[in-house]
């Protein structure tokens, strides 16, 4: 089991969710986040002063998937979240030790 964390542009959320559903991934956690990589912020004016706002709105998706679905999931995200511009985001993958369904204590990949 592996965890996929993807930080994407908020405008791409619907496309990414649809693409993931198509490859069989239904369960995920979606967080509203702020941040930036190399993408610069934007300037705002307030009373004659210019301010740089570099905490930009992002969406972070987290999902734990069985090993055999990881590459399909990554391809789905890449295809749907990419615009080709700086600020598209990043995907991180890490190993998961255990997954447990709270309702019935089911464990392992079948709990996903």
């Amino acid at each position: 089991m592996q965890k996929i964390e993807a930080v994407i542009q908020p405008s791409k959320l619907d496309a990414v969710k649809d693409a993931l559903l198509e490859v069989g991934i239904e369960g995920m956690t979606i967080l509203e986040a702020r941040g930036h990589g190399r993408q610069k912020g934007h300037t705002e004016f307030y009373r004659g002063r210019e301010y740089t706002v570099d905490l930009l709105p992002k969406i972070k998706l987290e999902m734990v998937v069985p090993d055999e679905l990881v590459e399909k999931a990554v391809q789905a995200i890449l295809a749907s979240a990419r615009s080709g511009k700086i600020g598209d985001g990043k995907i991180f993958i890490s190993k998961i030790d255990e997954a447990i369904r709270i309702r019935n204590d089911e464990r392992g990949p079948s709990a996903l």
Binding site: E44, F45, Y46, R47, G48, R49, Y51, T52, V53
Partner: protein, 465 residues
């Protein structure tokens, strides 16, 4: 009166006057005319009173929630409640203070600088008119209307020290300020025997229809002194402190605009055509200034901001305040256009030149806008709108410079200067006094934590709950 009763009375009258000639002192027709006159007067009073009570409500709305929202949107989220609370607290505190003593100090006769104490606890302030102020309004209507002005003026000052002043210090300071700065200024411009009272023969008649000097210059200049005395907020000017909700500020500004009809048109103290003039001028002044501030920003920054547009509108409303019942409508538009540009310049350039932290631009908009408006009142005042100056025979005299009376601009400068002086001196002394007794500023930690938590133990927004 029912026709049958009239006939009966007439018949009785004839009988009485023919049998007892000595009893026929007053012919019935004169009785009727006297009754009719009383009814007409009552109708006029009714119309005036209706408008004035409505206006008083509108002016209170300007403070709560108008100003409360306008200011609150401009501060950081952690200070939103504390900022609103400052305005709201004035609604409660100043009301009691007014009833106890400060109405009397403003509107009782006394000296040319301050009223007496005959009306403490509102003694003698009943439901009959005081002809010096209005021959149609119950004096209590006048008192409650003026109270709403006394409430909003200190609330305006809070803009200067937002996000860093202790609630207790603010309350104490503004109570003293209301007594020592507001009441005297109100007395001088509007009170019986006031030095600057144009309507009641003051020595230096200053044309101030609704409070350009009394409300806006005093609050704005006092705000500047407060900002200088208290010092800058932690992190200012390096740290960006943008408004947490321009949405809330827009709502507040619109409530201010609508409420201002009560502030200016209500200052006509009647429901007649002078109220119409003031209403129209108020609206035109706001529109002109919103437009010119937007254009100025558009040219300078390439984009007109919502915050700029509403700030412009408020600046226009401030500037038209002294002029509202004295100028022609087109003059009001001009005053608005000028106010938008001048106040824009004040808040983006002058503030940064001098480096003072007037958090919510109370001085830039109210102090500067009020001063500009008071001067322009002397320029644009027209006796065709309001024949305020008359000679010994009752003939109308010119009002402002556009009618040839350039001397009025000088009189305006006297009133303006007095407002500046009393504000600067009064505020400095009172700040020092409160600083020595209670202490003015919150601690650095409290300021960083935010006033909502440190002063009120509350959070403004708890969307997670």
């Amino acid at each position: 009166m029912h026709p049958r009763i009239v006939k009966l009375l007439l018949a009785l009258g004839f009988c009485t006057s023919s049998v007892f000639p000595a009893l026929a002192q007053t012919p019935p027709a004169t009785d009727q005319i006297a009754k009719l006159q009383a009814q007409v007067a009552a109708a006029q009073s009714g119309a005036d009173n209706a408008w004035m009570l409505t206006s008083a409500a509108l002016v209170l709305m300007m403070t709560g929630p108008g100003l409360a929202l306008f200011y609150a949107g401009l501060v950081r989220k952690k200070n939103v409640l504390a900022t609103m609370m400052q305005s709201f607290a004035m609604m409660a505190i100043i009301t009691v203070l007014w009833a106890v003593v400060s109405y009397s100090l403003a509107f009782d006769s006394g000296t040319s600088f301050i009223g007496g104490l005959h009306h403490v606890f509102l003694r003698g302030v009943g439901l009959t008119p005081d002809p010096d102020y209005s021959s149609t309004l119950p004096l209590q209507t006048y008192m409650i209307y003026q109270l709403m002005f006394a409430i909003i003026t200190p609330a305006l000052v809070t803009g200067a020290f937002a996000e860093r002043m202790k609630f207790s210090a603010m309350a104490l300071f503004l109570i003293l300020w209301s007594i020592c700065v507001y009441s005297p200024m109100a007395h001088m411009v509007w009170g019986k025997g006031g030095l600057l009272n144009a309507a009641l023969g003051g020595r230096f008649p200053t044309l101030d229809f609704a409070g350009g000097t009394v409300v806006h210059i005093t609050s704005g200049v006092s705000a500047l002194i407060c900002a200088l005395y208290l010092g800058k907020r932690v992190g200012y000017p390096k740290e960006a402190m943008p408004p947490h909700s321009v949405v809330i500020s827009i709502i507040g500004a619109c409530l201010l605009w609508v409420g201002w009809f009560g502030f200016n048109a209500g200052s006509a103290l009647s429901s007649g055509t002078l109220a119409t003039s003031a209403f129209v001028n108020t609206h035109f002044g706001a529109a002109g200034a919103a437009l010119s501030w937007m254009l100025a920003e558009w040219i300078r920054n390439g984009k007109p901001s919502a915050l700029g547009a509403i700030s412009g509108a408020v600046a226009g409303l401030v500037a038209i305040t002294p002029a509202a019942g004295f100028v022609q409508p087109m003059s009001a538009i001009i005053i608005g256009l000028l106010a938008g540009v001048v106040c824009y310049f004040m808040v983006i350039k002058v503030k940064n030149w001098f480096g003072y932290d007037d958090s919510l631009d109370a001085f830039g908009v109210h102090g500067a806008g009020g001063t500009l408006g008071a001067i322009l009142t002397g320029v644009f005042a027209s006796s065709t709108i309001n024949p305020i100056f008359r000679d010994a025979h009752g003939n109308v005299l010119p009002s402002g410079a556009i009618e040839g009376n350039w001397h009025q601009v000088l009189n305006q400068l006297v009133g303006i200067s007095l407002a500046w002086i009393i504000s600067i001196v009064g505020t400095l002394i009172l700040l020092k006094l409160v600083d020595l007794t209670v202490g003015l500023r919150v601690t650095r930690e409290q300021e960083i934590e935010g006033l909502d938590l440190s002063q009120h133990g509350e959070e403004g927004y708890d969307f997670a709950s």
